[in-house]
Each structure stands twice: as structure tokens, then as C-alpha cells.
């Protein structure tokens, strides 16, 4: 008899999704967190979504996850990015009231019938015959379970740096989780160090907005969740300002006091989100760098200085912040800092996110070397779904690269690993034209429903939407616009469905019409990709047995053999994506696998 079906370690964005997925499927789940007040906290920028990331949020939602609901009810500004740069790469982004977001997340967990919350720190795993059997906590509890999901974020051996100051924290003022990383090292996990950083928070009333540019959100605000009809939230502005020559001079003359440049930080930081000192050093020709001043919530004076993340000492931070127009008298409420933490090499995971080292243990979020709330939540929902699949004795749900950004994210992690905090980019997806955010429900809700997470109401909503899309397409095929059908007219890049005057169209919602228009515009290009997608699918369907012996095959290069053994791909498709593996070795491998199948 076990205490719980599942234990989720960590209450961040991955932990929230993982625990909700399990509990909603009816499994008794315990969420253990170091602080019940820190559930769903936004440690860095107070915003959700963005390019590729917004797609992730909509995919999480389509599967039956929570992130879309949370942001829809707590947003304080919303924009669709890149409207003019091509529909396939547009995505929603919203500023969140970070306090409401966190509170709503906790409320949502508390409402869940099968979900239990407990404040403690996990220091070790109980493993029986290679499978997870429970956890040991700092206060000495031994709690048993059949599965576990590990989502420690930046807390495993976390260490923050502000110039010469350093402290064992996962976030400023919150102590790190010590010990677990070392226990995992002993158990054979490949543990590495990564680094990330966050900028200072300044007091709104001390800023001079007349020196900044105003940045308003979209009106009306559009929801992330396919279940949200409309968003009824206040829209607060953000502001834009720029660094000056003086800012750069101050940073350059103090660069030796940065723990990054002084060599104290060994973890690799993200290139796509560099600290201000990195930007100044690497791009000396840039006259100025953009800074976004963003509200952290409705009931707070704290403003987030997006673009000024730093690990320089606080006195240097004061000087360079005060050299920026609009911030000359800024009162710093929290300093910028860098954080370095343990991550586990994701090559030790199956595509289900289950550990190859301990059966029944799933790992999600920043622990796997990613960065970002959305990337964490996406892994959380998949880890939760797959832990539930395991408990039910069913096959894991693996999303392919061709059907979801989530598929790209997880496949990249478990096939290529990562050297820096991994962030989702649209350019990581080979077939991004078919991964539009507005089609996430069509792509994924049936899968989420089949797995038992997405509700019947969601499926009904999708059925209705699909039927509407079909009727609009029929209407367009039969309506004439000049010498062509309206359908064909829409294939032209400049044609716009809202300027077509066709009877009956106005009874459909704008989102349905826009989706139809994009479907039609992209149909030719999508056809181009279809064959490749089909080919990829077939290779992904050729499974490699888990205990396949790579040493037993002749005719394979030793380099490829080592790579196969390090990754242990689950399919020929995955094997092919390992970087640096020869095509002919894949052919030999598939022959060997097929011949073993036949006995």
C-alpha cells in the first residue's frame, strides 16, 4: 500500500501542471514544496507567452493544462506579436499581475479533490528495484508513492550572486534545496550547472515616465485558453527607455567586479537573454540598448526593468540604472542578481520525460536545462500525463515535432541535450507553418482527451469549432468573387476575409474566420511539407526495443554506436535526429532492429 499514487516535487510552473494533470485524472497526488506562499511564482519577468512560447501556452491549454486559464484571469496587458511578419509566427504575449497569478495558481490547486499540498523539502528518493518508491524529506518524513515528478527549477543547490555577495538561494531570500543534487549524483545522474539572471525591480513613484516611450497593449485583449470566451481585465501600459554611453562606461569600468567575468560562476548562461554586462562587452558598437519598464501587478509599485539583468554589485547597479533616462532617481526595491543551479542532463530521459535511471520518476522544467515558465509548464503537463499513463498501465503520450512545439521541445532535450538554458524559438521547429497557435486545439485536444486530461466539454467545443470552420470553407467555395471562388481569392497574399462581402459570413466569430483565412492561405505550402511530415512519422513509428544491444550490430561506425548508446533512442526517427550520426548507420540500425523483431 502506498501513501500516494504520485508525488510532485516543486510548486512552480511545471509542478502546477504536473500535479493538476495527475489529480484531474483521479490519482491521489501530493505536491511537496519548500514554500506554499511561492506556488506559481514568477521569478523573472512578469509575463507569459511571446513568440513560440505563446504557442506553447495554447498547446498546454489544448491538452487540458492550466496555464492559459491562469494568465487569462490575471493579465494586465496583452499583445499579439509579429502581426505583420507572417501568420505562422504570430503569438500572444501578456503581462501578468504576478501576485494574482500566484494566488490563483494556489487556489486552483487547493480546489482539486485528489490533490494534497505539503510544505517540506525533499532530500532523497526511495528507490526499490530500480523504481521510485517514495521520497525522504528534510524534516524526516518518508512518504511512499508509485510515481514521482521532479520539478526543482533553480532551487537544486541554487546559489545567487550580486557582485561579491553570494548566498545559497533559489530565488532572492528563498533558500536553496541542498542535498538532493548530491544524492542524484550518487545515483548516477549526470548533473551540471546552469546560470540565469534577473534585473532589478524599481519603485514606480520614483520614475519619470515623461522621459520614456509609452507602450500600450491590444484592445480587445485576446485569451490564451480555448475555453475563455473573452478577457475582462484592465490594461496597463509598459514603458520603453534606453541605456546611454554613460551606462556603458560605468559597466565597462566595473566589469571585473562581475562574478561572471571574475570566474565565480561556472554555469552556462543563455545567449538569447544576456545580462547587460554581456551585451555591453559583446556588442561594443551598439550605442544603446532597449529597456522595457513593466508593471509587476496592479496593487504594487514594483516595476521590472526588462533588459537590465545583471550580477554586478549593488553600488554599480545604482550607478548604471541612474544613468538611464526616466530612471535617474529610481529607487531600487530588489537588486538584480544571477542564479546558478544544478540541472540534470535530459539525455537521461525517455521522450515521455521518465528517467532512464529510476523507473516511475519523471523530470520536468528548469531541472532539465530549460528556461521560461512556458517551457517548464509544457514539460509539467506532459510529465503529469505520462505519469498518469504509467499508473494506468498505458503507453506514454509522445507528441511529435510535426504536431506541436511541445514535441520539438521535448525531442530536442532528450535527443540532443542542451548546453545552455533551452528556450523555445520558432526556428527550432522544421514545420512551423503547421504549428500555428490558433490550431493548437485541433492538433492536441483529441490527444489530451484520449489520455483522460482534456474534458468532454473541451472536445465538444472543438467539434463545434471544426464544424464552423468546415461550413465557412464550404460557403467560400460556393461564393463567387469576380471570376474565381471566394476560396481561391483568399489564396492571394493580400486578400482579406474581412473585406469579402459574402452573405452568412458575419454569423461566424472573427477567430473562426481568421483561422479559415490562414488555412486557405497556407494550404499550398502545407502540402509541400506534408510528404516530409509523413516520412518523419513513419520513421518515428519504427520503435527500437528499450533493451536493444547496440554492440551486437556489425557494420555500424563506432562513433555512431557511442552516440546511440548515450541517447538510447526509442525510435529510428529519434536516432536519425541525433547530431552527427551517419545516414548509412541509421539504415544498418533499422535492418538490425527489424531483423530482431522477426526473431
Amino acid at each position: 500500500m502506498r501513501d500516494y499514487d504520485a508525488i510532485v516535487i516543486g510548486g512552480g510552473h511545471a509542478g502546477i501542471e504536473a500535479s493538476l494533470s495527475l489529480a484531474r485524472e483521479g490519482f491521489d497526488t501530493l505536491l511537496i514544496t519548500q514554500s506554499l506562499d511561492a506556488i506559481g511564482r514568477m521569478s523573472c519577468n512578469p509575463s507569459i507567452g511571446g513568440l513560440a512560447k505563446g504557442n506553447l501556452v495554447r498547446e498546454i491549454d489544448a491538452l487540458g493544462g492550466e496555464m492559459g486559464h491562469l494568465i487569462d484571469r490575471t493579465m494586465i496587458q496583452m499583445r499579439i506579436l509579429n502581426r505583420r511578419r507572417g501568420p505562422a509566427v504570430q503569438a500572444p504575449r501578456a503581462q501578468a499581475d504576478k501576485f494574482s497569478y500566484s494566488r490563483l495558481a494556489k487556489e486552483t490547486l487547493e480546489k482539486e479533490h485528489h490533490l494534497f499540498l505539503f510544505m517540506d523539502t525533499v532530500v532523497d528518493f526511495i528507490v526499490e528495484q530500480g523504481r521510485i518508491a517514495g521520497v525522504v524529506t528534510e524534516r524526516g518524513w518518508k512518504i511512499s508513492s508509485r510515481t514521482a515528478v521532479l520539478t526543482t527549477g533553480t532551487f537544486m543547490n541554487g546559489k545567487i550572486f550580486i557582485g561579491e555577495y553570494e548566498a545559497p538561494c533559489g530565488r532572492l531570500g528563498e533558500s536553496a534545496a541542498a542535498g538532493l543534487g548530491d544524492r542524484l549524483r550518487e545515483k548516477g545522474f549526470r548533473v551540471g550547472r546552469m546560470k540565469t539572471g534577473t534585473p532589478a525591480r524599481v519603485r514606480k513613484s520614483s520614475l519619470d515616465f515623461s522621459e520614456m516611450e509609452l507602450q500600450e497593449g491590444d484592445d480587445p485583449m485576446e485569451p490564451f485558453s480555448f475555453e475563455t470566451e473573452h478577457v475582462d481585465r484592465p490594461s496597463l501600459p509598459c514603458y520603453v527607455t534606453y541605456t546611454t554611453e554613460e551606462t556603458h562606461r560605468i559597466i565597462r569600468s566595473n566589469i571585473s567586479r562581475s562574478p561572471l567575468y571574475g570566474g565565480k560562476i561556472v554555469g552556462r548562461g543563455p545567449r538569447y537573454c544576456p545580462s547587460i554586462e554581456d551585451k555591453v562587452v559583446r556588442f561594443p558598437d551598439r550605442e544603446r540598448h532597449q529597456i522595457f519598464v513593466e508593471p509587476e501587478g496592479e496593487g504594487t509599485e514594483e516595476m521590472y526593468l526588462n533588459g537590465l539583468s545583471s550580477s554586478l554589485p549593488e553600488d554599480v547597479q545604482h550607478s548604471f540604472i541612474h544613468s538611464v533616462p526616466g530612471l535617474r532617481h529610481a529607487e531600487i526595491m530588489r537588486p538584480a542578481y544571477a542564479v546558478e543551479y544544478d540541472y540534470l542532463n535530459p539525455l537521461d530521459l525517455f521522450p515521455s520525460l521518465e528517467s532512464k535511471l529510476i523507473g516511475g520518476l519523471f523530470i520536468a522544467g528548469q531541472t532539465n536545462g530549460t528556461s521560461g515558465y512556458e517551457e517548464a509548464a509544457a514539460q509539467g503537463v506532459m510529465a503529469g500525463i505520462n505519469a498518469a499513463q504509467l499508473l494506468k498501465g498505458e503507453k506514454p503520450l509522445i507528441l511529435s515535432r510535426t504536431e506541436a512545439y511541445i514535441g520539438v521541445l521535448i525531442d530536442d532535450l532528450v535527443t540532443k541535450g542542451t548546453e545552455e538554458p533551452y528556450r523555445m524559438f520558432t526556428s527550432r521547429a522544421e514545420h512551423r507553418l503547421s504549428l500555428r497557435h490558433d490550431t493548437a486545439d485541433q492538433r492536441l485536444t483529441p490527444k489530451g482527451f484520449a489520455a483522460g486530461l482534456a474534458s468532454p466539454e473541451r472536445m465538444e467545443r472543438l467539434r463545434k469549432k471544426s464544424a464552423e470552420i468546415e461550413s465557412v470553407k464550404m460557403l467560400l467555395r460556393s461564393a463567387r468573387a469576380g471570376s474565381k471562388s471566394a476560396y481561391d481569392v483568399l489564396k492571394e497574399p493580400e486578400a482579406d476575409i474581412f473585406s469579402l462581402h459574402i452573405d452568412g459570413l458575419d454569423s461566424y466569430s472573427a477567430s473562426v474566420l481568421r483561422e479559415v483565412e490562414l488555412d486557405i492561405k497556407y494550404s499550398g505550402y502545407l502540402l509541400r511539407q506534408e510528404r516530409e511530415i509523413e516520412k518523419a512519422k513513419r520513421l518515428d513509428n519504427m520503435e527500437i526495443p528499450a533493451d536493444f544491444d547496440y554492440d551486437s550490430i556489425d557494420g555500424i561506425s563506432s562513433e555512431s554506436r557511442e552516440k546511440f548508446k548515450a541517447v538510447r533512442p526509442v525510435s529510428i526517427g529519434q536516432a536519425r535526429r541525433i547530431s552527427g550520426v551517419r545516414v548509412s548507420d541509421i539504415a544498418v540500425l533499422s535492418v538490425a532492429v527489424r531483423s530482431r523483431e522477426r526473431g
Binding site: P87, R93, R271, P493, L539
Partner: protein, 438 residues
């Protein structure tokens, strides 16, 4: 090769690539019968498995290429167990080349070594052992490595291809950065770099064009000997053959209007035709013969017009770039005509042969300062790249995402030429060239 995927339409010559009475070209993959049907006069799409269908293979313009038998294999039958067919055609090299080119244009690619065996194995042909299948693949790999080493991009062409790849990568990175970051972070509007892309396309096309000269040596040319009856055509034909120890076969033209043979002239493989003479006649058979000769001359790379100065009223055709006039019977007339030769004494023959070789290679010299390529694969990849860039340019009014898709495919064609390129390369370029991140 793409990746030993099964069911993708492929073809291969199943018999040796050398002139013979009969050749067999085999094609396999999903939908190959319907892909080939438009080019074949016999019905194959609804023929039962194992049936041999007689008919003509025609090209896109309806021109007959050859009279053949096509054996049909439905899925589950035949060597690979895939939908397949086998063309039994005449074993002349031009026929094999035309048929291969036609299949290629129809969307059936040439199979890699071992690919048919591989497919047969993967589709459960139990009479093949695993060892056999693996051996073929491994052998193909070593052979390929050998031929790759020969055709590997070297020196200037490699540097050139790398430079082009670099430019395309820069263009793509400057576009991708706009797709991966919002307009508030990267406010600059991206503008399609027409001039730069045009220059790249022109460069790619001119490198691809250098292949024409090497193709002359690998694929050969067709040369027709024409002239009035008794002008000495057959004597020249025989003299050229005598010079040649590389004659493989000699066969009679199907309508007895011409004799055809393979020869090598100064290293250039040549299909040589000796035609029926021009004669004023109104006999319908003769007229038909003349019509065929004219057709042959139409298609020839070079026409050697043999004139007989001793007959007096010999009409000279226009000496255009495709026609070379030579004078026969030098032993009788003396050497007052240019390029005069005697098939009896052998005098002047060397000069005639030099002139033929010179004419054939005219126009295939590579332009100054353009690196040369010597493989069809390289040429195809260069052209694919150019075409993808052209498509990108044509879609410059569509979304950035569409342009990016074409630039991506240009890059992957170049990548296949110089070595793999992955998505990570683009991100690397992006992070190193742009100051990013809030």
C-alpha cells in the same frame, strides 16, 4: 541520399551501363505506376501484377523515346514488395540516358546503392538475410565515400560554396531574428535583399553551367555525317571507326536510313550516325528516309557535312555552329579545300578529327573566374539552391514565414553540397550577430 526511407519513388538501372541489346530499368515506391503512366502508351495503372505491357515511352512533348516492355508489380509483389515496374528497353546508352532523365523529371529519383535490397528486406522479403542487406549498405557507403572523395568540393569551388552558404545564412538569420523576437525588441523592418539574392542566384547559375563541359566527356554527344550520295560519308565514317579502338557495337538504323555506332573522338564519347545521302527524288520511301535523316540532324550536337569537290556542283550548307564542312577525296582533288582529307591515304584525317573535337567542346568552356564542377549531383544541388532562392524572391510579398521556408530549403540544398547544416547553426548565427534579449 535522403535517408533510406521506404516507399519514396526511386529507380535504378538493373543491367550494366554499357551498350547492349537490352537494358532493364527498375522503379519502386508508392505511386510509381501512376507517376510513369502519362509517359507510357500501354496501360499499366490497371494491369495485374507480373503482366508485361508493350508500348512506347514518350517524353513530355509526346516525342517517342523507345519501344519497350513494362512489367508491372503491385504492392506486395516483386523484388521490393512495393508498387514497382521494370522497363525493358533497347540497350543503347542514349536511350538509357533519356529514360533515366525522364523518370527523374517525373519525380522518381535515382536509387542509392543497396537501396533496393534495403527496401526488400524492410518489407519482409525473408529470402534476404540481414547480413546481405547490411553488406550492401556498407559496401554502398565505402563506394560512396570513394566517389565522394573524388567529387568532393575542392579548393576554389568549396570556398565559393561556403561563401554562398554564409551569405544565405546571414540573410536567413536576419529574417529569423524577426520571427523569433517581437517587433518591440527588433523594431527594424526587414527588407528583402533583392540585389544580394540576385547576385547569389547568378553566381550559382554560372557555376552550375560549368558542368556542361564535363558532361560532354561523361555523357557524350551525337554526331551526324551528312552529305550528298557518294560524297564520301561512309568512307569518313569508316575512317573514324578505324581510328577508334573503343568501338563497342555497330548496328543498323531501324529504317536502314542510317548506321549508328559508338566511338570516342579525342576523349569525347560520340554516338556517330552515317546517314542516307541527299538525293533529289520523289519516291515516297526515299522521301521518308530523307525526313528521318533531317530529324536526326535536328537533334544532333554536330553535323559533319561531307562535300566532294570533284563533283563540282556540291551545295554547301550554311556553316553554322552546328555544322562542320569537310572535303573528301583529297587524293583526287589535292588540298585546296579547307579540311580536306583522303580516306584512301589517310591524309588530313587528323586535322578533321581535331576540328570535330574542337567544335564539340566549343561553348562548354567555363567562364573566367568561375569554379568548375564535375558532377551532376553538384549541379543539381546548385540549381536547387538557385530555384529555392528564386521562390523566396517571388514570395517577398507573402509573409516572412514563407520567405524563411524557401531560404531554409536553399540552405539545406547548399548544406547537402558542402556538409550538413542544422537549425542550431541559424540560432548560433542569430545570437552572435544580433544583440538580443530583454
Amino acid at each position: 541520399m535522403a535517408h533510406y526511407a521506404t516507399d519514396e519513388p526511386v529507380y535504378a538501372l538493373a543491367t550494366p551501363y554499357s551498350p547492349s541489346a537490352l537494358a532493364v530499368i527498375r522503379a519502386s515506391g508508392e505511386g510509381v505506376l501512376s507517376i510513369f503512366q502519362p509517359y507510357f502508351t500501354g496501360r499499366i495503372t490497371d494491369a495485374p501484377s507480373g503482366k508485361a505491357v508493350h508500348g512506347y515511352v514518350k517524353d513530355e512533348c509526346g516525342e517517342r523515346i523507345d519501344e519497350v516492355m513494362t512489367v508491372v508489380y503491385r504492392k506486395g509483389h516483386g523484388y521490393t514488395s512495393e508498387e514497382a515496374f521494370e522497363i525493358m528497353c533497347h540497350g543503347s546508352l542514349p536511350v538509357i540516358r533519356s529514360l533515366s532523365a525522364l523518370l527523374e523529371r517525373a519525380g522518381i529519383r535515382e536509387a542509392e546503392r543497396g537501396e533496393f535490397t534495403y527496401r526488400a528486406f524492410m518489407h519482409g522479403r525473408m529470402d534476404l538475410t540481414e547480413a546481405e542487406a547490411v553488406e550492401e549498405i556498407v559496401k554502398a557507403r565505402t563506394e560512396r565515400a570513394g566517389s565522394d572523395a573524388l567529387s568532393r568540393l575542392t579548393g576554389s569551388i568549396y570556398r565559393e560554396a561556403e561563401a554562398i552558404k554564409d551569405s544565405v545564412l546571414n540573410i536567413l538569420a536576419s529574417l529569423e531574428v524577426q520571427l523569433d523576437y517581437g517587433e518591440d525588441e527588433i523594431p527594424e523592418e526587414w527588407v528583402f535583399p533583392h540585389e544580394e539574392v540576385r547576385a547569389i542566384i547568378t553566381r550559382l547559375r554560372s557555376i552550375a553551367a560549368t558542368f556542361a563541359s564535363s558532361r560532354l566527356y561523361s555523357e557524350g554527344a551525337s554526331v551526324v555525317i551528312a552529305g550528298r550520295t557518294n560524297a564520301g560519308k561512309s568512307s569518313l565514317f569508316n575512317a573514324l571507326l578505324k581510328e577508334n579502338r573503343a568501338i563497342v557495337s555497330s548496328e543498323e538504323g531501324t529504317t536502314r536510313d542510317y548506321i549508328e555506332t559508338e566511338a570516342v573522338i579525342r576523349g569525347i564519347p560520340v554516338r556517330l550516325f552515317d546517314t542516307a545521302g541527299f538525293r533529289e527524288t520523289d519516291g515516297s520511301i526515299e522521301l521518308e528516309g530523307i525526313r528521318r535523316t533531317e530529324e536526326l540532324m535536328e537533334k544532333a550536337d554536330l553535323i559533319i557535312y561531307v562535300s566532294d569537290p570533284s563533283s563540282g556542283d556540291d551545295p554547301h550548307p550554311d556553316d553554322d555552329s552546328r555544322t562542320l564542312t569537310v572535303s573528301s577525296k583529297r587524293d583526287i582533288t589535292g588540298r585546296d579545300a579547307p579540311l580536306s582529307f583522303s580516306s584512301v591515304t589517310g591524309e588530313g584525317l587528323d586535322e578533321v578529327i581535331d576540328a570535330i573535337a574542337e567544335r564539340l567542346s566549343r561553348g562548354t568552356e567555363a567562364p573566367e573566374g568561375v569554379p568548375r564542377i564535375d558532377s551532376l549531383r553538384q549541379k543539381e544541388k546548385l540549381e536547387e539552391t538557385a530555384e529555392a532562392l528564386e521562390s523566396a524572391e517571388l514570395s517577398s510579398f507573402a509573409g516572412f514565414d514563407i520567405i524563411a521556408m524557401y531560404l531554409q530549403s536553399a540552405l539545406s540544398s547548399l548544406g547537402e553540397l558542402t556538409g550538413e547544416i542544422t537549425g542550431d547553426d541559424i540560432l548560433d548565427r542569430l545570437f552572435s550577430s544580433f544583440c538580443l534579449g530583454k
